[in-house]
C-alpha cells in the first residue's frame, strides 16, 4: 500500500494535536515550548504533503513556506529559551501556572 496524501495529513493532524495538548497542559515552560515546536513541525509536514501531492499553488510554494517556518522556529526557540532562562532567574520558577501576572 502506497501512502497517499491522507496518510500524511493524518500524521500531521495527530502530531498537531499532540503538540497542542502538550502546549496547553505542560506546566513546565520548556515543555510548552516543545509542544509548540511539535505543532510547527506538524504544520510543516502538512504543507510539504500538499506540495508533494501537487495541491495548491505549485510545488515550490509549500516548500518555501516550510523553509521560512523552520527559520522562524529556530529564532523563536532561541528567544523563548532566553525568556525561560530570564524568567527563571527572576522568579526562581518556570512553572507557567505561577506566571499569572496577566490576571487583573
Amino acid at each position: 500500500m502506497t501512502p497517499g496524501l491522507e496518510h500524511f495529513l493524518t500524521v500531521g493532524a495527530i502530531l498537531f494535536c499532540l503538540g497542542l495538548t502538550i502546549a496547553l497542559s505542560k506546566r513546565n515552560a520548556i515543555g510548552v515550548l516543545m509542544g509548540i515546536e511539535i505543532m510547527l513541525n506538524a504544520v510543516n509536514l502538512t504543507l510539504l504533503s500538499f506540495a508533494r501531492f501537487g495541491v495548491g499553488h505549485g510545488p515550490v510554494a509549500g516548500q518555501a513556506f516550510v523553509v521560512f517556518i523552520i527559520t522562524v522556529a529556530a529564532a523563536e526557540a532561541a528567544v523563548a529559551l532566553a525568556l525561560a532562562v530570564s524568567v527563571y532567574r527572576n522568579r526562581d520558577t518556570i512553572d507557567v501556572d505561577k506566571l499569572n501576572l496577566l490576571r487583573s
Binding site: 496547553l24 507557567v96 499569572n100 496577566l102
Partner: protein, 650 residues
C-alpha cells in the same frame, strides 16, 4: 375687516408709538431698577413713579383721543413670528374698553407707587419692591393693550408671575411664601382653561385676533358647542384670576403681601383682569347662552359666599379681600346677565374705592402695627384723614347715593332684575351684607376705645415699624395724599354714566351694538338697593356702635351658619384634605413615588445588577494563565471548524 367700520365713525388719531410707549415706559423703569438702582432706594421709588407717571399721562391722552373718536377702534398689528401655519402677531388695540382700563390701571398704579414710598420706607427690599411693581404695571398694560389672544395670554401669565413675586415679597415669612405658591397654583388651574381656549380657537378659527374672534363667534360658522367650549375656557381663566368660586381661595391669602400690593393688584387691577377678559370676548358670550348662564350663576354664588365670609372676619384686610371677591362676583354676574356696561362700570368705580379702602387699611396698619380689628378702635380722632377717606370708600362700596358705587351697583342690580329675579335676589342680599360688614369694620376700627394695637417686636429684624402702636398717629403725606386723591373718583366716578356717556363709549368696543337696551335708571331698583344698604349700615351701627345686641349673642343665634362662615365654608380644608393630601399626596404623588422607586430605579439598578451578575460569572475565565486562554482559543477553532463542516458536508 368691514365689521369693524360698522361701529366706528372715525379712528382714533393717536400715534402708534405713543401706545407702545405706555408699555415701554414702566418696562424701562423696571429694567433700570433691576440693573442699576436696586440697592439705591432713593432712586428706585422715584424712577418707578416717573415710569408709571409717563404711562398715566399717555393713557389720559389716549382716553381723550378715543373719546374724540367716539369710542372707535384703532388697531396696529405687526407680525411677530410664523411657525408653519401659525402666525403670531404683536399689536395694540385701542377702543373704549382699553382706554378705560388704561386709565384705571395707570392712575391707581401711580397713586399706589406714591403711597408705597411712605409705606415701604426702610424695608430692606425697597428697590426690589418697586421693580416688581413696574413689572406688574407693564404686564397689566400689555394685557389690556393686546390685540390678539396669544399676546394677551403672555401678559396674562406675566401678571400672574408678578402677583406671585409680590405676594411672596416677604418670602422669609412662611405664610407669605405659602400664600404666593397657593395663588400661583390656583390661578394656574384656571389658566389651563384659557390655554385650552387658545388652542381651540386656533384649531377652529385660525386666528388669535380679538376682532377676528368676535367675528368668528358672531358669524355662526362654528357650532354652538364649540363657541360655548371656547367661552367656558375663557371664563375658567377669568375665574382663576378674578377669584371666582371655587377658585377664589387664593385671594384672601394673597393679603400676606404688602398692603399697597393688595390695593393695586388684588383689588383694583389684576383681579379685574378676569372681568376684563370676559368683557373683551363679550360677543362670544352673547352667542353662547349656556356659557353666560355659567358666568352669571358662578358670579352670583361667588358674591354671596364671599360676602357671608366677610361678615365674620376679624382681620381688616381680610374683610376687604372677601369684599373684593364678592364685588368681582358681582361683575361676573352682570356680564352673565348681559350687563356689559354695568360690569365694566363697576370695575371702573370699584378700582378706585377699593384701592382707597386698601390703602386706608394700610394706613391704619402703619399706625397700629396690626390688621386685627379686635386690637383697634377709636382711631377716628387719631387718624382723621384715614378715617374720613375710609368712610367715603365704604359708603361708595355700600352703594349710598350719590357716590360712585351707588350708580354702578344699581346698574348691576337692574340688569340682574331684568335677566333673572333669583339673581337679583342674591345680588340684593349681597348688597345688604356689603353695607353691614363694611360698617362693622368701620365701627370696630375707628369708634370706641383704642385697644392698643400690636406691640412692636424689636427682635424681628424685618420689622421697620416706626413710632409707638400704643399711640397711633396719622400717616405721613405720601400716604395721605393718595387717599385724598382716590376719594375724589370714589365719590364722583359714578356720575360719568348718568347720561350713558360711559356706556355708549365702551359699547363701541363691541363689533355691533348690543341688541338689548342698556341700563336705564329705575326708581324701584335704586330705592330698594339704597334701602338695603342703609339697613345694613343701620344694623352694623346698632350692633357694633350702640351695642344694643351683643355680637356674641348674635353669633350664638346663627351658630351653625356663623361656624360655616368662620371656616370659609371649609373650602380650604376640602382642598387641603381631599385634593392636596388625598389625591395628590396619597394618590398621584404616591403613585409617582412607587413608579420612581420600582420602575425607574428598577431599570437603573437592574441594569447594574445584570452587569455585575454577568461579570461575576465570567470572571473565572480571566485567570491570567496563557494556557487556559490557549485552550479556549483551540476549543473555539475546533468548534468553528466543526461548524463549517456541519454547514458544508463533504
Amino acid at each position: 375687516m368691514p365689521f369693524l367700520e360698522a361701529a366706528a365713525t372715525q379712528s382714533p388719531t393717536i400715534d402708534e408709538w405713543l401706545l407702545w410707549a405706555i408699555l415701554v415706559s414702566p418696562l424701562t423703569a423696571w429694567a433700570l431698577i433691576v440693573l442699576y438702582f436696586r440697592k439705591i432706594p432713593a432712586v428706585a421709588g422715584y424712577l418707578a413713579i416717573a415710569g408709571i407717571g409717563i404711562s398715566c399721562l399717555i393713557s389720559f391722552v389716549t382716553l381723550f383721543n378715543v373719546i374724540d373718536a367716539d369710542g372707535a377702534i384703532a388697531q396696529h398689528t405687526h407680525e411677530w413670528f410664523t411657525a408653519g401655519d401659525v402666525v403670531v402677531n404683536l399689536g395694540v388695540r385701542v377702543d373704549g374698553l382699553t382706554a378705560v382700563m388704561l386709565v384705571v390701571v395707570t392712575s391707581v398704579s401711580l397713586l399706589v407707587q406714591i403711597y408705597s414710598t411712605g409705606y415701604m420706607a426702610g424695608d430692606s427690599g425697597y428697590g426690589r419692591y418697586f421693580a416688581h411693581m413696574c413689572l406688574f404695571t407693564t404686564a397689566m398694560l400689555g394685557l389690556v393693550l393686546a390685540d390678539n389672544l396669544f399676546m394677551l395670554f403672555i401678559f396674562w401669565e406675566l401678571v400672574g408671575l408678578s402677583s406671585y413675586l409680590l405676594i411672596g415679597f416677604w418670602f422669609h415669612k412662611p405664610s407669605a411664601a405659602a400664600a404666593a405658591k397657593k395663588a400661583f397654583i390656583v390661578t394656574r388651574i384656571g389658566d389651563l382653561g384659557l390655554l385650552a381656549a387658545l388652542l381651540l380657537i386656533w384649531s377652529r378659527a385660525e386666528t388669535f385676533d380679538i376682532a377676528g374672534i368676535h367675528h368668528w363667534a358672531a358669524s355662526g360658522e362654528a357650532s354652538d358647542k364649540i363657541v360655548t367650549l371656547f367661552a367656558l375656557g375663557i371664563f375658567a381663566g377669568a375665574a382663576g384670576k378674578s377669584a371666582q368660586f371655587p377658585l377664589h381661595v387664593w385671594l384672601p391669602d394673597a393679603m400676606e403681601g404688602p398692603t399697597p400690593v393688595s390695593a393695586l393688584i388684588h383689588a383694583a387691577t389684576m383681579v379685574a383682569a378676569g372681568v376684563y377678559l370676559v368683557a373683551r370676548f363679550f360677543p362670544v358670550f352673547e352667542v353662547s347662552t349656556d356659557a353666560r348662564e355659567v358666568v352669571a350663576w358662578i358670579g352670583a354664588a361667588t358674591a354671596l359666599i364671599a360676602a357671608t365670609i366677610a361678615l365674620v372676619q376679624t382681620d381688616l384686610k381680610r374683610v376687604l379681600a372677601y369684599s373684593t371677591v364678592s364685588q368681582l362676583g358681582y361683575m361676573m354676574l352682570a356680564l352673565g346677565a348681559l350687563g356689559y356696561v354695568a360690569a365694566i362700570f363697576h370695575l371702573f368705580t370699584h378700582a378706585f374705592f377699593k384701592a382707597l379702602l386698601f390703602l386706608g387699611s394700610g394706613s391704619v396698619n402703619h399706625g397700629t402695627n396690626t390688621f386685627d380689628m379686635r386690637k383697634m378702635g377709636g382711631l377716628r380722632a387719631k387718624m382723621p384723614v384715614t378715617f374720613w377717606t375710609f368712610v367715603i370708600g365704604s359708603l361708595s362700596l355700600a352703594g349710598i347715593f350719590p357716590l360712585a358705587g351707588f350708580w354702578s351697583k344699581d346698574e348691576i342690580l337692574l340688569d340682574a332684575w331684568r335677566y333673572d329675579r333669583a339673581l337679583w335676589f342674591m345680588a340684593a342680599t349681597v348688597a345688604f351684607m356689603t353695607a353691614f360688614y363694611m360698617f362693622r369694620a368701620i365701627f370696630l376700627t375707628f369708634f370706641g376705645e383704642y385697644k392698643g394695637g400690636e406691640p412692636v417686636d424689636h427682635h424681628d429684624p424685618d420689622n421697620h415699624f416706626h413710632g409707638d402702636p400704643a399711640h397711633p398717629h396719622e400717616s405721613p403725606w405720601p400716604m395721605r395724599a393718595p387717599l385724598l386723591i382716590l376719594a375724589v373718583p370714589a365719590v364722583l366716578a359714578g356720575l360719568l354714566n348718568v347720561d350713558h356717556d360711559f356706556g355708549d363709549f365702551i359699547n363701541h368696543a363691541l363689533p355691533e351694538l348690543p341688541h338689548h337696551e342698556g341700563s336705564t335708571f329705575e326708581w324701584g331698583i335704586a330705592l330698594s338697593s339704597l334701602g338695603l344698604a342703609l339697613g345694613g349700615i343701620g344694623l352694623a351701627w346698632a350692633i357694633y356702635y350702640k351695642r344694643w345686641v351683643s355680637s356674641a349673642s348674635l353669633r350664638e343665634l346663627f351658630l351653625p351658619l356663623a361656624g360655616l362662615f368662620e371656616h370659609k365654608y371649609f373650602l380650604d380644608n376640602v382642598y387641603e384634605d381631599i385634593f392636596v393630601r388625598g389625591i395628590f399626596h396619597r394618590g398621584w404623588n404616591r403613585l409617582l413615588e412607587l413608579t420612581d422607586r420600582y420602575v425607574i430605579d428598577g431599570v437603573a439598578n437592574g441594569s447594574g445588577r445584570l452587569v455585575r451578575g454577568v461579570s461575576s460569572g465570567l470572571r473565572p475565565i480571566q485567570n491570567g494563565l496563557l494556557q487556559t486562554y490557549g485552550l479556549g482559543f483551540a476549543a473555539g477553532v475546533i468548534i468553528f471548524v466543526l461548524a463549517v463542516f456541519a454547514a458544508n458536508p463533504l
